[in-house]
Amino acid sequence: MNADTMTPMERVTTALGHREPDRVPLFLLNNLHGARESGLSPREYFSDPIRVARTQVALQKRHQHDCLYAFFYAAIEVEALGGEVCFVEEGPPNAGTPLLRDPEDIERLEGPNANTNPVLKRVLSAIAEMRRRVGETVPIIGVVMSPFSLPVMQLGFEAYLLTIFERPDSFWELVQRNREFCVHWANAQIDAGATAICYFDPVSSPTIMPAEHYAKIGGHIARTTLARIRGPVATHMASGITAPIAEAIADTGTVALGVGDADDLGALKACIGERVTLIGNLNGLRLVHQEAGEITRNVQRAVAAAGPGGGFILADNHGELPWQVTDEQLAVLREAVTIHGHYPLAGARTDHDG
């Protein structure tokens, strides 16, 4: 029987140090499942930070995975800025009518103080309560939207693309204002007890923007933002491809990268695996209808591709498991990690093998 011998914190920090822990760490990014577990709608569930913390800790204990995910929902930053959020019953809330309608709105935009804004305070309270409950045994992951990606929800995607290409002055003004807020919001989460920050930046992915723009725009914004965050940062492009810009992402100062399932995990490991820990790349949407055999094979595939030598955390590839993924499927996933994820990995060859 493969037994765990490390705490989640020890396991994750060992993996991040590019060494092999007792087993491959597993992040179940199950923020929405807390609502399902509580029998509440997402709107009700996320209204009470103590309930969020309590439920996430309970789910971490049940599945024996390796983080507490302090992510509420992507639109929470827009909500904190005064924007509209649309809740649905069995899925993530989304941003509603765009908050910014013309260039003058950008000039008036001011990021809220996370320590006094009632919306952001809920997240900080949840993080503090998680830390109180688990001490230093489990890493807590805070979340920010990148200054480059947040405008999709502030302006609407179409207006934002036009701003990028046709109104560069307004674009950079918005980025500058968002960057100040992003740094402040990330550091407030670190101060509240978050171990690391997940920097969601899907717009930087070559799925959304041409790869040749990354160095000048998304990568430049990431470098200048991450340098001011007082804790380790993992970059995540929410299923978008990363391979064409992988080396430039590694140069931003990020310690980890969320990998989409369209990327070749093994090739990325060979390219940037010595500099950046890879997180991924199970397809959460497909997991919704997968049976045990397929789930297990996907775990084996990912572990074999990126597990050797450490520097790998198994997780879904989008940064949020769909509500519809069942507890039974998660139990299968966890069992597959027990069987196939313990070091030394079966059939793996490391540098120490000679």
Partner: protein, 214 residues
């Protein structure tokens, strides 16, 4: 200049978001008195090439979007109203299900318009509303754009509502949930799935051939 060179030049102008060059290629190398030929021989193949490139990870969504806009502007200038609104092909409508984010729908409409295919815009609708409007408008092809998984799953409700209305238009879906889970469209009762906005041209032309004569 050979047709393939014209298409490649036009495609590259759109990829670099060079409106001036795109327009120059059309006005210098094409017969502007035969706009439907321009659409069929240059605009549609260039849009399809960009869509294919997006599916393969070569081009980005931003390039697909801006290409659609450039083509839409050109079509507005080149095509006489009779060609752009009096298209005798299938009746096409497009809506967004339970979401406020319209980019996908906008891209598909722009690309269809660039290819001289008009799609009625239903905006944001609930399932019953899409079905009711499709019934009233005698729609042949109903396109649905989604962003989040719950909306993608609600396509099943649209199919049920269409059946309750006694109609069975072709149901074509697109958006991130379908692209990331390519089998999903089958499970929710759709007939086709577009993986990029320019797939819409191919799909409409394919389904057009399967429609009974009007």
């Amino acid at each position: 200049m050979e047709r393939a060179q014209i298409v490649a030049g036009f495609r590259d102008a759109m990829l670099t978001i060079d409106r001036y060059q795109a327009r120059r290629i059309i006005t210098e190398y094409c017969d502007v008195d035969a706009p439907q030929t321009i659409v069929d021989d240059v605009i549609a193949p260039a849009l399809e090439a960009i869509g294919d490139g997006w599916e393969q990870g070569t081009y980005s969504l931003a390039q697909v979007y801006m290409a659609g806009r450039i083509c839409e502007e050109l079509a507005d200038d080149l095509l006489p109203p009779a060609t752009s609104s009096g298209h005798s092909g299938p009746r096409v409508a497009i809506g967004v299900l339970d979401d406020y984010h319209m980019l996908g729908k906008r891209m598909v409409r722009a690309i269809l318009h660039g290819a001289a295919i008009d799609a009625i815009d239903y905006g944001r609708c609930e399932a019953w509303e899409l079905a009711s409007r499709a019934q009233n408008d005698d729609i042949d092809i109903l396109m649905i754009s989604t962003l989040m998984l719950p909306a993608a799953l609600a396509v099943e409700d649209v199919r049920r509502a269409l059946t309750a209305e006694g109609i069975r238009p072709w149901l074509v879906v697109g958006g991130a949930p379908f692209r990331l889970d390519p089998d999903l469209y089958h499970r929710v009762g759709a007939d086709r799935m577009g993986t990029s906005a320019s797939d819409a041209i191919r799909i409409v032309r394919e389904l057009e051939g399967a429609l009974p004569d009007r």
